[in-house]
Symmetry: C2
Subunit: 159 residues, 2 copies
């Protein structure tokens, strides 16, 4: 099965990561897959990891914390707060990998109805330094995002 391509850019000299991805599903379904923890845990992150969610309260002022565990028991925990949540439209949240405590990025996720029951997702992440952004990119984040969105295609198709 073919999937939609993901575009991930990390422009030189500024601490941003930009992501664009289309999905063959309506915005309401894509939003639900980002906000219902039972769905989120089915797709978020790279292949081969289990996701344990401690909390995932997708509303303005809510918090989240989860851990990815790899096949050899290594655990990677993440947490943040939701600054703004507008259902089917916008999520602005902070993001901290607990392996680098105090290095907190902020992400704006937009969902756009592009017709035909399809959705364009755009995400803009801002890191507190260019070095922190580069560290995230070199951690294999691009593969994790790409693989996660392939699984999200499956969740949206009801697989």
């Amino acid at each position: 099965m073919s999937t939609n391509p993901v575009t991930i850019t990390a422009p030189d000299g500024v601490p941003f990561i930009e992501i664009t991805r289309e999905f063959d599903a309506p915005v309401a379904a894509v939003f639900r897959a980002h906000s219902d923890p039972d769905l989120v845990k089915q797709w978020l992150g790279p292949h081969g990891y289990d996701m344990d969610i401690e909390s995932y309260d997708v509303r303005t002022g809510g918090r989240y914390r989860y851990a990815h565990t790899d096949g050899s028991g290594g655990t990677y925990s993440f947490n943040g707060v939701f600054h703004t949540v507008r259902p089917d439209e916008l999520i602005i949240q902070t993001f901290e990998y607990e392996g680098t405590p105090g290095v907190v990025s902020i992400e704006t996720l937009n969902l756009e109805d592009i017709g035909g029951g399809r959705t364009r997702l755009t995400a803009h992440s801002t890191f507190p330094s260019v070095e922190a952004r580069d560290g995230m990119v070199s951690s294999g984040m691009e593969q994790g995002v790409s693989e996660g969105y392939e699984r999200l295609d499956g969740v949206l198709a009801g697989r």
Copy 2:
């Protein structure tokens, strides 16, 4: 009365604002002046504005919202969430001026004991674009920060 100088830098080409300021008071007092809303409203913001606080819940996961009102009734509202609060040490929070909704920055505030009952405050703000950072600087933010810290000196001195 002389006050300690404030250093505010907005480096070219990156979306950051850096602030450094020393205070003639211990870290616990400077932290309390940042976290007790009855104290915050005595100093935060430029001269000539009243501050009305709707909420100011300085703990990890807490939220805040307040408005500055000028002499002619103009109102400027701000809100955000606290990603991390470590008393007497660290505050990481989001910041949104509601006149530019959706443009959300993130600020890391560190307090350091420099001996003699004095404190060094350093703040690192990251904006979602260089343009948003430049807009904040051109709004008169530097004067507002400088005047606010002069009043904070007075709060710390018990005036």
